[in-house]
Symmetry: C2
Subunit: 238 residues, 2 copies
């Protein structure tokens, strides 16, 4: 039997990164899966505890600041705006907190954030369809296909449901597969996509072009920010 | 071609119910699917705009109160605590706002809330595995199985991913299947459950008993609250 990284009698501390404009749907799986597990603390981390708004709208407040954030076992990030990805204070936070974490989860554009902080160098990683190819410019080995990619303690995934799946897989690694199965059932994670077009392969090129077109400009700005941050930080000792 | 209930040039107003202890994962699909759609407004509705906390932890603020809430096209609710389900002010809100809404979504324990407000009488409806049978005591016809159930303008679903699926199906009814497909692909809704135990049928009786046991007490309290509220309100003109 696999040794548990974090036995159930020790509190598992989960830090979820939030900021103005964070994409709620990309991190909610981490909150749901770990938050429903026994002996777990959820921390929402940002620079301040002032009210912020998500994208789409969801007024939120962090529960701890960069300075006050305890050492965490799990660090998670989803899609965030370009100015946050490139913010040196944010980069420093990810570089510092990922050192002691046992699992680092990037969902959708969250993988760009990890790459910007030079954390994915030489690692296999994925992201949403708009971002996955760009991971190569951040020193990573892009893995398309919509499945969670695990490389060491780095768990990367696509958007929305990707955060549920990455969290379930990380929970199994940290706490054992038994509890991960109970949670998968407890949240009845047995999805039935209504239109069965949730990947470029299922949807075909025309619909894929249309979907990518809806947010290409925003996506390109995130990629550009991650690239320039990575160029500034690569090769430096973390 | 089907007539759209809400043409794209008219703003679609989505009201999501929040309260102390609301289960974030049950309504985030509504926020993500509608919030990523063009010309849509998301409103978080509660009695006050004061900070509240979700369950698990997610400090949130409503964007509008019961009194200030505009007429909405979509009304959505997930699992909420028993004292809120049985609150006469909350019941009145659901009875009033559901009248003019074109789609009313209940995910997980949200179906109990709709049933408590006597909105599911004679209707086919579903909920999470812990709640679905109890819908009969609220005058509804329970439909187990984990698929979204649509009866008139009422869309009911299981927990977590249920809210994504109910929202995609409601979006198709309101705005047309074309845009619903673009959103399903845009959020890459093509899940791969890691352990494939996300329903009682997949998990078997032993694991099901274990998962239900984790939250039986809390679930029973929600059911009791919904039953007693329904008994008080059934048969009254809405």
């Amino acid at each position: 039997m696999m040794t548990l990284l974090k036995p159930l009698d020790q509190t598992l501390k989960v830090g979820i990164f939030v900021c103005p404009g964070y994409f709620l749907g990309d991190v909610v799986g981490v909150q749901t899966v770990f938050g429903c597990s026994p002996n777990t603390e959820i921390h929402l981390v940002w620079k301040t505890l002032d009210p912020i708004d998500a994208s789409p709208r969801w007024p939120t407040m962090a529960t701890t600041t960069f300075e006050e954030c305890p050492d965490i076992d799990v660090l998670a990030v989803g899609l965030i705006p370009p100015d946050v990805i490139a913010d040196p204070e944010v980069i420093a936070f990810f570089q510092q907190k990922s050192k002691s974490a046992s699992a680092v989860i990037g969902s959708c554009g969250g993988s760009l954030m990890l790459g910007a902080a030079a954390l994915l160098e030489g690692r296999r990683a994925t992201a949403s369809m708009a971002f996955v190819d760009a991971l190569e410019d951040l020193g990573a080995i892009p893995v398309p296909g919509g499945q969670v990619v695990v490389d060491g303690k780095f768990y990367t995934a696509g958007p929305a449901t990707g955060s549920f799946e990455a969290a379930l897989i990380a929970l199994a690694a940290l706490r054992g597969e038994e509890i991960a199965k109970v949670i998968e059932l407890g949240i009845e994670y047995d999805p039935h996509p209504p239109f069965k077009v949730g990947s470029p392969e299922l949807a075909g090129p025309e619909l894929t072009e249309q979907a990518l077109g809806m947010y290409r400009e925003a996506a390109d700005a995130c990629i550009a920010a991650a690239r320039s941050a990575y160029e500034a930080y690569r090769g430096r000792p973390l």
